[in-house]
């Protein structure tokens, strides 16, 4: 069903392991939570191990150490990278102010790029797109106007603490209800995605593992 496993003995073993772990997770639905808890630990451990493996084999060695070994004098910036990796690895034993440097750089860069991107890539283009304007069809024009009106009401709904008149308070209340409706719709989509995952896992058990579905 998922096509990730072939017919070699190792693939058959992988299918069995996947099936057993799937059964363990589904077992939580019938009250078997202890083994399910172990599977969560297993997942966390595997994810951490895989991330460490990725960091070493695809980042630190090929993009840092190998390049330094090739040209140690020509890449001063990479020495800075080595220093940051070293400080991160030694965080429990170095002064807190020093250990905070790589983390601060990471968080600062993340915030800066995310904020800048949100403004340039989302806020400005979406503001421009939400301005109601004549469209080729009446329906499209009305839809655009409705989108602009809803955007405005939801934005007003975020106004807190300011003195309000009756009209503004009604608009803010409408905006909050519209936002709640949007959140409800989003939760419905989330439920649908998770349902598809459940059905896919059952299809894996019934098809790939038990072979009951051709």
């Amino acid at each position: 069903m998922n096509g990730l496993f072939g017919a070699e003995p190792a693939d058959v073993a992988a299918t069995w392991v996947a099936a057993i772990v799937t059964l363990v997770v589904l077992g939580a639905l019938v009250g078997e939570r202890r083994v399910f808890g172990w599977s969560q630990h297993l997942l966390a451990g595997l994810a951490t191990g895989f991330l460490a493996l990725l960091a070493i084999t695809e980042v630190i060695v090929p993009r840092l150490l190998e390049q330094l070994a090739t040209d140690p004098a020509g890449r001063a910036d990479l020495w800075l990278g080595v220093a940051l990796v070293g400080v991160t690895a030694a965080a429990p034993w170095v002064p807190r102010a020093v250990a905070a440097v790589p983390l601060s750089i990471a968080i600062g860069a993340l915030a800066a790029f995310a904020l800048g991107g949100a403004v340039v890539g989302t806020l400005l283009p979406q503001l421009a797109a939400s301005v109601a304007r004549p469209e080729p069809t009446v329906v499209a024009t009305l839809a655009g106007a409705a989108a602009a009106a809803i955007s405005g009401l939801v934005l007003i709904g975020f106004v807190h603490g300011a003195p309000r008149g009756r009209i503004l308070a009604t608009a803010a209340s409408s905006g909050r209800w519209l936002m709640l409706a949007g959140l409800g719709g989003w939760l419905g989509y989330l439920l649908f995605s998770r349902l598809l995952l459940l059905v896919d896992r059952l299809a894996f058990l019934v098809g790939d593992w038990l072979g009951l579905v051709p």
Binding site: A109, F113, A129, W186, L196, A203
Partner: protein, 273 residues
Amino acid sequence: MLWRMASPLLLLVLAGALLLPFDLGLRLDNADSSATRGLNATLDRLPADPTVLVGFDPDLGTYAELRPTVRVLLADLLARGARLAFISLTSEGRALAIAEFDRLDRLEANPRQIVDLGFLPGAEAALVALARGLGPDPAQRTIGVLPEEAELPQLAMAVVIGGNDLGPRSWVEQVAPRTDGLEIVAVAPTVLLPELQPYLASGQLAALLATPRDGAAYRVSVELGPLERMVEPAPPPTLAILLGLVAAVAVLGQAVAARLAIAVRAARSREAS
């Protein structure tokens, strides 16, 4: 007691629905085909032998929903002669990419059409560096972002497989403003539809497949020829999905009815007092 039995009963019903040899005529592919038309129009604009950057960052919790469509899209691009350069910015995406590479290898996909650019750490900053590295001026290539052996010619398009933190929205925010005219096509789980639909409407995404129905409509629209072997043999089980939805609506209805009952009882007690 009945409530405790509900979960295993639901599992049994869904598993039983999977075993049925019929689906009551339920079809996912008879949806509005505008998403499919948009995607096919974008793919038709590709030049001959294009290079397509594939941002592969689905997550384990939603990849089951995307998998059939992603595989058909990859096969479609390969059938069009595209060279696919895969890059992942999350560890989950990288793990799934490795699994898909293994599958493509087993299915004897042309290895010259597939380039593995690996895992790129750094989240949003990495996307910025990637976008700079993809520019037309090689001097601006950010050293260390891409392997030296993976020199890419002018990119024709970017396909983003979403689901994780760094999905189509991040590509629209970080890559699109820095790459002149690079079209971005997204395949994303249903849960991201409300987030991504505005980008499609504003033209920041060239095409978007974000529901199982859109995916199914696209899958039946594609002629893959010899690459048909890359398609999943079994379509998504529509009857089981429908039963699951009915169960979900029943649970929701039960919750609403319980709240209503409490409200009615409270009103009656107020009247009585």
